[in-house]
Amino acid sequence: MVAMSTTIITITRQALLARKEVWMTLVTLLLLAAALIGIGLYGALSQQSFVMLMMGLELMLNGVMLAAVAFWALSGAGAPEGQLLTIIVMAVMAIEMAMGFALVVAVYRGKQADMTEALSELKQ
């Protein structure tokens, strides 16, 4: 099972060059990315907990990365900047999560709060 899936991966390069896919096209990939971004946006806006909110953001970035790689592979002629963009997005995700959690910890220490509403008094 696993060997099979990994083997599929190894043989895709030639397949990709031959371009025989009907379903894995730029449009379907972008639609998939749009779906992930949409779900992520819903999560980021609707969740009350910080951590769940960050999950929404991460899901959006997931879609962004997929779109970037799709453009790189199918529309950008393999220009290296496409991959670089994805790496940068990954770094941004790591930074977002690390800073987010650090802030949650700091706020939690001070206020015993982990919900967005409880922080409204922070503004004052």
């Binding site: 895709t12 030639q14 990954m90 949650v104 001070g110």
Partner: protein
Amino acid sequence: MNHGILVDIAFLLLAVLAVVSGWRVFRTDSMVRASFFLLLSFIAVGAIMLLLAAEYLGVAMFFMMGVEMMVMALFMVMFMMNPAGLNPMVMVHQHRISMGAGVTAFLVLGLMALLTRFPNRPLPAGLEPVASLGHEMLGGSMLIFESAAVVLLATMIGVVVLSSHRGRYGAANEGSLPPGLAPGGDPAGKPKEDQDGGHEHHHHHHH
């Protein structure tokens, strides 16, 4: 020929997995399960990247997100009121607006994808994706790459400072007090008496 079909099947399965597990993130009771659903979504997207011949990015996705979601799950357990999901609860606000925003985003982006004509320029035959990425990162875009590295380093330091219990001048929740100007003298910038210290809040929580 054969391969194209295999890749298509794999892509469709992975796409469904990515969307369904992404959706389940916000629909499950248990917070640990939520972060592992998100991980599943990431893994599916990483595998699609492998299908697109982005060999480094796809695999990097696995290990980056594996660690990240593990940490996420732990923070879930730490900070959520009800980490095990024993009492299912709806912890959402502005539900309808969010739902609308999500659907709108999907529709707008989807229409853009459908209606725009993108140039059809697939990967050139001799391209080595990993080597090309490496040459770009440590060649033309070295500045960007290095800036990202510096930002990451700064983040690490910042995170430790923010989350550490003991600051340089005492416990984090007691406000900092710089050392005296002269040995044993008054501190440099003397803060006003704290009237609403963290301690009080703490007590409040327990009542």
